[in-house]
Amino acid sequence: MAEEYIVEMRHITKRFPGIVANDDVTIQVKKGEIYALLGENGAGKSTLMSMLFGMYEPDEGEILIRGKKESISSPSYATSLSIGMVHQHFKLVSNYTITENIILGIEPKRKALGLFPCVDIRAANARVAELSRRYGLEVDPTAVIRDINVSTKQRIEILKMLYREAEILIFDEPTAVLTPQEIDSLLDILRRLRDGGKTIILITHKLDEIRRVADRCAILRRGRLIDVRDVASTDTKEMANLMVGREVSLSLGKAPAQPGEVVLDVNQLCVRNSDGVEIVRNVSFQIRSGEIFAIAGVSGNGQTEIADAIAGLARISGGSVRICGTDIAQLSVRGRKEIGLSYIPEDRQSVGLILDFRLEDDLALREYYRRPFSRSGVLNREQIASYGEALIQKYDIRCAAGGSTWVRSMSGGNQQKAIVGREIEQDAPLTIFVQPTRGLDIGAIENIHRQILEQRDRGKAVLLISLELDEVMELADTIGVIYRGELGRIAPASELTASDVGEFMMGVHREAVS
């Protein structure tokens, strides 16, 4: 009986301080199938797979591989059981070549001068080239990681597993960073790998991917296994309801936009990175009050740099940026803020907040220097505390000890609420949101989306930069698509479909436009 399954995880329970990540979860995976794990952020999918890959050990339950009970204590033991994993965050050494990254840990050796064992890089290059041909994963073995794009990095992670002759391949949210077209090609690769006899476990919260490739699907919610379904015989709506645990409303009830004056006017903006390479090139667009302008694009095409340049965190190397008619190029970060700019940065933990501050201090982070928070250089502690308390109430920030809670101890969703609350409270004519919902669960995402729409409806201009195409399509009034630092197409959202935008994200229409 047990022979039928290549992977069995029985009655797995895993606890972390304050949370039960997996609660009596049992899954059984057959050889040669694509098995999907579906669930929201925080449902316990990654934790479950981390245990299969030996990064954690379960508190209760047992794991059987090929019918044999195993205690998987480390990733290298998992590798020896021919289990491989592509993590959500790629684990690549930036100054190494593709081959060096792939062979790391199991380097082929040769003897130099017949005596000294050396890493045989030439043989490794040949082997990597051969593997990439066999599985249709085109890469140049000698390219250095620093210079390559996200989808190639993902291929390297896949090649890493194949190089180790893995039979059980785990993919953790592999499509989160890809364009629709790249997703297509990845799904092709998955199918090809399955047809080549590999077993694939796919962690995702995207239903259409499951529809397209998975054979069976396990649905997790809050650490518990809800159901296991055959994908072919279950409809999408039902899966969605199982995943969320209630009826899903897919529409936000967005009113039509009522644009007014131009608030942000970006003209021929250029930005260079620290190596002097121009990563934003001649970008021009305008945002009016009461309008949400979204920049869609694959990560790393210059979109965060546009936001940083407007906010003053990156230097403008060419062109002009005007907020409410004032050229801001020469203004400091603070000067720009005072002219009317709120900014919710991409990285909330290392840019938006000081984690080792108390919440009330972080809530005053952009205002502390002026009245009523301070006077002639001396802080008014009482004022800071009462302001913090007011924001905590207003934006429903959950924290253990009110304004004196250490921000580090708060959840990601509440940290984001604090930033969003702080920035919205400034009542600036322009608000920039960069990846505002990254890593948050559905409840928190809905909340943030509502805030963004409210901003618009109060007559503010909103610049939304997001890698999530769904988010862009749902919120934007106008969409600009960025590809290699250039805005390829700017159009009202109503005139674009998701796949149009996807094609621009890939640069397919680039020639046609220029």
């Binding site: 050494v93 190494y96 990254n101 840990g105 380097e107 050796k109």
Partner: protein
């Protein structure tokens, strides 16, 4: 002619120990552990080596070569053992690596001075704060030393100089050619990659820090045998920090770091020759002594901005963090 000869001879004997210490620093920092402890490590190495040589000389007599060789070996062991403390603090106890480095230096200085005095008093029955070693004998290679100018590189060579070159070559081989080196350098860039590939980040870094201790210890005993001819707290005059400046200058690579060490060495010996040749009073040598430090500051002004430190340098590695 003679001046250049002396500059080269003195310069090399200063630059090479500095270089081997810089290599140690490169090992540690390429694995991701900031190492400001070089100063303390070389002192500890010199202390252990000096003590060993002092004891063995009493046993084997002043003419024996054994104390010298044993001193080199024990200096490396002592440096490595003391470096393990830095590793323990940085890796196991997750201390701030800069603070840990400074702590190691301060404790090393205190500990070696205390032990030197205590051992001298309680074991050898004398009140002294040093172990006299004498300056190591030098060798001149016949033939090669006759080459004009370049012959100086083969004249009055301390035995540790070729030893250092051999060790440097081995260090290069391990760092750039073996799988150990591949993993070590990966630890300094993205330790998660090493972890995912089944390597142990902690073990690799620990070994790297120990290596830096061993090489610094060797450097320390070389300084003791060449510059001062003794072990005492005089050993703590900032050689470790010069080595750090050298590898920052060398962008954490071996060969450019060697160039930096040579510049320091020749600046120092050149300055001394200048004072001597111009017949200045000896207090002027204090001014000359500042040359390598001033030079370091200037080099750093020009180089610090563009140099790229290992990406994961100084970060406390947390497996669970992604």
């Amino acid at each position: 002619m003679n001046i250049i000869h002396n500059i080269i001879i003195d310069g090399m004997s200063f630059a090479l120990p500095l270089f081997i210490m810089a290599i140690g620093g490169i090992y540690s920092e390429r694995s991701g552990i900031t190492n400001l402890a070089l100063e303390g490590l070389q002192g500890m190495g010199a202390f252990v080596g000096g003590l060993t040589a002092y004891c063995l000389t009493l046993y084997f007599g002043a003419d024996s070569r054994i104390p010298y060789a044993a001193a080199m070996l024990c200096a490396m062991l002592g440096g490595a053992a003391y470096a393990a403390l830095h590793g323990l603090l940085c890796i196991r106890f997750r201390a701030n690596q800069v603070i840990s480095g400074v702590v190691i230096n301060i404790l090393g200085m205190a500990l070696t001075s205390f032990l030197t005095k205590t051992i001298n008093r309680n074991v050898f029955g004398e009140a002294s704060d040093k172990f006299i070693l004498g300056v190591s004998a030098c060798y001149t290679i016949p033939g090669l030393s006759k080459i004009p100018v370049l012959g100086a590189f083969f004249t009055n060579v301390y035995p540790f100089e070729p030893l250092i070159l051999v060790i440097a070559l081995i260090a290069w081989y391990f760092l750039y050619r073996t799988s150990f080196g591949l993993r070590l350098r990966a630890c300094g860039d993205n330790p998660h990659a090493v972890d995912a590939a089944g390597g142990s980040v902690a073990a690799t870094r620990f070994i790297a820090v120990m290596v830096s201790g061993a090489l610094s210890g060797l450097a320390g005993i070389c300084f003791a045998y060449s510059i001062s001819g003794k072990f005492s707290s005089d050993i703590y005059v900032g050689y470790g920090y010069l080595a750090i400046a050298a590898y920052i200058f060398g962008n954490w690579n071996l060969l450019p770091s060697l160039a930096a060490c040579l510049i320091f060495g020749f600046a120092r010996s050149g300055g001394y020759q200048l004072v001597q040749q111009l017949g200045m009073p000896s207090s002027y040598s204090d001014l000359v002594m500042t040359l390598p430090y001033i030079l370091t500051l200037f080099l750093l002004i020009f180089l610090s901005k563009n140099n790229q430190a290992p990406r994961a340098l100084g970060e406390i590695y947390d497996k669970a963090k992604r």
